[in-house]
Symmetry: C2
Subunit: 193 residues, 2 copies
């Protein structure tokens, strides 16, 4: 189910997430992470600025994959369709990291400081999605609404995915959450004109 | 256009926001705020825990008014209609505070620490909206999607409101943003079943 990369970085991530889960995030030191991974502190700092970055270094790849999907969307696609065009490649990379994602979600939920950091990172990514939409000459409001809404759908699907046991379900949960959003929005009465 | 309350709390808020705008948030002290308001530091601390709280003490009232609107929504209303039922009373209280809201938005945008705090507060409010929806036996996913989507619409309308000059336009901007969201979501192709 889990596929930890056997390289130094993968070993450090595995060691860190295990220690965070066992002892708590605050109580774990970089020295202990390196020790558990059978590596030196110096090697740790070659890959991560601090222990928090073990949890957030994946954010750049998330952004990169999502934005690449956005870039590959057809030129005439609607704003929200452009945003959700990144979902399929995203599902692929997340499925490979199910165990890490699940433990990571638990560790973050237990630490308000990490929740803040996560919100800021996701908000930053929503901003990048907005800029990618604006570059396609989408209106500013449509860009913000589509980027934020796409982020909400991603967030909901992600929370559902880490609470169940099938690593391969992420793509399906993304599609389901998008469909539920459509229903939630379609159900409000049209305004009187 | 501005209606600062003439009481001590209102005078402190006015003094604080003016000083933040003139000198920057970091460079302003509680002593200076109290002095500008013609009051003592002791009086300041009767109303606010610190200078940051001058900017965020309104969040409780925002939550209270929004949740009261949610509580007053018809029993059979759809989830997103329940969330947006709070918009009308919200527009009323914000219009009275246009000048404060506008300066506040600029001060927050210029300080990453305040942006974080704002995101956390809004995320907390989205959580309260979710719980209010769940109490009405809405499904968990619909509750999260409706609460987050309602928050996005609020956020977009708010950003537009503080960038123009008509204090009375907030209600109209909320309705417009909701309609734009509807268009953005309706425009995505239905999934192949």
């Amino acid at each position: 189910m889990t596929r930890w990369k056997p390289d130094a970085q993968g070993r450090l991530m595995k060691a860190a997430i295990e220690l965070f889960a066992e002892r708590g995030y605050d109580a774990t030191t970089v020295t202990e992470i390196a020790e558990r991974a059978g590596l030196t502190k110096r090697t740790f700092f070659r890959y991560f600025a601090d222990k928090r970055e073990v949890l957030f270094s994946g954010a750049e790849q998330l952004a990169e994959v999502w934005l690449r999907g956005v870039g590959d969307a057809p030129a005439d696609a609607e704003p929200l369709a452009i945003v959700t065009a990144g979902f399929e490649p995203l599902a692929g990379i997340f499925e490979e990291r199910f165990e890490f994602a699940r433990l990571r979600a638990q560790i973050i939920a237990a630490n308000p400081e990490l929740v803040e950091r996560e919100l800021i990172k996701l908000q930053g990514l929503a901003g990048e999605l907005e800029r990618a939409l604006l570059a396609r000459v989408v209106s500013l409001n449509a860009a913000i609404l589509a980027a934020q809404t796409g982020m909400t759908v991603f967030h909901v699907a992600f929370a559902r995915w880490v609470e169940q046991d099938d690593p391969t379900s992420f793509g399906r949960l993304l599609a389901q959450s998008l469909e539920e959003l459509r229903e939630v929005v379609a159900a409000i009465p049209r305004p009187a004109v």
